[in-house]
């Protein structure tokens, strides 16, 4: 009797078990999908495992794809100012700003659009650039590549990078300086 026979037998059994479990898993997955068992309502929270899976996949995908992007210098005040104008018009409606609430559409979304002052602390400028340019599937984040030139996207990134340094009062002052005074959310 060959010394490998018991091992071979073990492998066979393991393969059979895996095949059975895999088939059951696949059938279960298809059933969950086909019978609409997963609630896709935005008012229904993800379960923690699903949330963790999606959130991790998203973060890793951004990191991976932005890896080789070289960010230009972003500290030029003129660039920051240019970014501010676009930020206020195109980002604030969903993301809000320091002391400014997101709009109703943003508030109703799941996932909730990130607070960008926090994103600026967590993501590198090249990663923010990638997200703004390409958008994010299934999150509501649109791609801006076909609306803005790269240079304009970098301007937005330059302003977003400044967000964590702005107090709500300073942000309001910037608004007042650039635009006609807009009522604060308390006055609206």
């Amino acid at each position: 009797m060959s010394p490998f026979k018991p091992f071979k037998q073990f492998l066979l059994h393991a393969a059979a078990a895996l095949a059975v479990l895999g088939t059951l898993g696949a059938v279960g997955g298809v059933a969950v999908m086909y019978f609409g068992l997963y609630n896709i309502a935005a008012v229904d929270q993800h379960t923690l495992p699903v949330y963790t899976l999606l959130d991790t996949a998203l973060r890793q995908a951004i990191r991976q794809r932005a890896k080789h992007i070289a960010a230009p210098a972003l500290s030029d005040p003129a660039l920051v100012e240019k970014g501010f104008v676009r930020f206020r018009k195109n980002c604030v409606p969903c993301h809000g700003a320091p002391g400014v609430a997101p709009g109703d559409a943003g508030k109703g979304m799941l996932p909730l659009p990130n607070n960008l002052a926090e994103s600026a602390r967590e993501l590198a400028p090249r990663e923010i650039f990638w997200v703004v340019k390409n958008g994010l599937k299934m999150t509501g984040m649109p791609a801006w590549e076909y609306r803005f030139e790269d240079e304009e996207i970098w301007a937005i990134v330059a302003f977003v990078a400044k967000l964590p340094t702005l107090s709500p009062k300073e942000y309001r002052a910037m608004e007042e300086e650039h635009f006609e005074r807009t009522p604060t959310s308390a006055e609206r």
Binding site: V43, Q45, H46, T47, L48, Y51, D55, G96, P98, G99, V100, A101, P102, G106, K107, G108, L110, P111, L112, P113, N114, N115, A117, E118, S167, P168, K169, T184, S185, A186, R188
Partner: protein, 152 residues
Amino acid sequence: MPRSMNLLHSPLCERGETDGVSGRRSAPAKRRDISCLIHLLLLTFLSACAQEKPPHGQTLGDAERGKVALQQYACTGCHVIPGVVGANSHVGPSLAGLAKRTYLAGVLPNTPENLIRWLKEPQKIAPLSAMPDLNVRDAHARDMAAYLYTLN
């Protein structure tokens, strides 16, 4: 309460059956009286348990609804909220242990009324705060407060 009052007129609690001469109630009638009383007490207790919270006038709302409202008013965008999946942001303070907090936002004594007020108009209370007014409806603020007070 009215539900149990109705029972006085139900067949369960018959009136009458008093002794014609003495005006005393007969033994079986007394037994029925006692059984009726027990039923009444039980029903009062049960109906008190089953009573739904009135939508108005009550300070705190429904905690389960509050959990969804906390998401729908973007609270989850800035605060860690235990029990709410995805609420893991550190823009503002974590809301863990809010029930034990002494001051809300560092300015208001922690009472249900103050918490509801704060949720509805933070900018009026603390104009320098980064927490914006989120146009929270009164009923939703009460629901959110109910959930937040489960965090201790």
